[in-house]
């Protein structure tokens, strides 16, 4: 291990980590929105939309992100859709993550007994109030573990972005190995930076799970 090399590489990795985190967070935010939308559509039982959402969820859960990205990045421009790498990365992550988030939210909503809703109505709460004060807090605490797992999963998945030539951590490492053959240092920094990104989120997730678990309600 050569520490001068590592010091030299540090800024490159820092920049790449910034990109990884930025695209990751944007993609995850979009995925959460898509997930909420899908859950809402599936609950509302609007005929055609519901089937469409189910088809989307099956398609996105049963295909790898790398193949989705290839299709988005190399396939779509051929039918006249202009794309760039950053937009593709975010779109791909959102496409993949949307279904995972939808499943997490759905499990939360489904875990709530219908009696909760009925009781809220009979107490005179409006539909909106029921959602806000009765359903959401409970569904949230049930979904948290799956939600946290999804966030970590999606951040990990960002590692395939190097395939569409985004200069993320993976790309930087591969590039540096190819250029200077400093394999050990490059891989060491790669592992360290992923740990720096993922460990705090993993710990935060555990904390969040612990804090929301107190919202116990039957079994």
């Amino acid at each position: 291990m050569n520490w001068t090399v590592i010091r030299q590489y540090l800024p490159l990795y820092r920049k790449a980590a910034g990109l990884t985190v930025r695209i990751g967070l944007l993609g995850i935010a979009a995925a959460i929105l898509i997930g909420l939308f899908c859950t809402a559509v599936q609950r509302s039982r609007i005929p055609v939309f519901r089937q469409l959402v189910s088809a989307y969820i099956e398609l996105s859960r049963n295909t790898p992100l790398l193949v989705q990205l290839f299709f988005l990045y190399y396939g779509l421009p051929k039918i006249g859709v202009p794309t760039n790498a950053v937009a593709c990365g975010i779109a791909g992550l959102a496409f993949l993550g949307g279904s995972y988030m939808a499943e997490a939210f759905r499990s939360g909503v489904e875990a709530i007994d219908i009696i909760q809703e009925e009781s809220a109505y009979s107490l005179g709460l409006s539909r909106g109030q029921t959602l806000r004060y009765v359903i959401f807090p409970q569904a949230f605490s049930v979904s948290v573990p799956a939600f946290v797992a999804n966030v970590i999963f999606l951040l990990k998945e960002t590692s395939v972005f190097s395939a569409i030539s985004l200069m993320d951590l993976m790309f930087t490492a591969k590039d540096l190995i190819g250029l200077y053959y400093k394999t050990t240092e490059s891989l060491f920094l790669l592992v360290v930076f992923y740990l720096l990104i993922l460990l705090p989120i993993s710990l935060l997730g555990t904390l969040l799970e612990r804090r929301t678990r107190h919202a116990g309600f039957g079994t």
């Binding site: 396939g75 051929k78 039918i79 992923y194």
Partner: protein, 224 residues
């Protein structure tokens, strides 16, 4: 309307080549799945033991493997071992090693979860009925744990198949690489083939994983 890849796909042996590429990917994932299910079950049982040392080691292994992107693990094994030990592992072998390490970690956690999810009163009732330790394990705990385990491990199989697409990045010629080659070879005659070819690959992965996911869902519902 310009050709979007259908004619390229039907030209010569192109479709058969793509299927062959999918075969390579599936072979890597199935070998890793077989190893993972076996080792994962063993490690999972080990994890329920009370020995603090074995627990700490297994925990460390599990957490490290799970927090690293699989791509990083592939790089560590493919490039790292060459540098550190001078091994010259082929792409296929490295990917089998990585996916087995990862699959074993995931599987062992599933096994541990299934075993610890059996409530203590089941063990106690079995003991109260006069069953020996081994009997209560075989006739009471295992049947219940296996029921919880099977849908989850089937899900793990689809995850492993999907993750296999990453081996492209360490130079294994699998379905995506074959698709790239076909597109490159036909760039002059049909420049827009990328759309159709990559869509085909996407659908192939879908039809490889979807039935397995459906089976997992069905079993989960039935055995609840």
């Amino acid at each position: 309307m310009p050709d979007l890849g259908l004619s390229v796909l039907l030209k010569g042996k192109n479709f058969a080549r793509i299927l062959g590429g999918l075969g390579v990917a599936l072979k890597i994932s199935l070998v890793s799945v077989a190893i993972s299910l076996l080792l994962g079950t063993l490690l999972g049982i080990l994890m329920t033991w009370k020995n603090p040392l074995s627990r700490a080691i297994l925990r460390l292994y599990l957490e490290f493997i799970r927090i690293m992107p699989q791509m990083v693990l592939l790089f560590l094994v493919y490039f790292g071992t060459t540098r550190a030990f001078g091994w010259n592992l082929s792409g296929e072998l490295s990917s089998v090693i990585v996916f087995s390490l990862w699959g074993t970690a995931e599987m062992s956690d599933l096994v541990r979860g299934a075993l610890t999810s059996i409530p203590a009163h089941q063990y106690e009732s079995a003991a109260a009925l006069g069953l020996s330790k081994r009997q209560s394990y075989f006739f009471v705990v295992l049947p219940q744990a296996v029921r919880r385990l099977i849908p989850l491990s089937i899900n793990l199989i689809t995850r492993m198949i999907k993750t296999t697409s990453l081996v492209l990045m360490i130079g294994v010629v699998e379905v995506l690489k074959v698709a790239q080659q076909i597109i490159e070879a036909n760039r002059m005659s049909s420049p827009n083939a990328a759309f159709g070819i990559y869509l085909t690959v996407l659908l192939l992965y879908f039809f490889a994983c979807w039935p397995i996911s459906l089976l997992a869902k069905y079993l989960e519902r039935r055995w609840r």
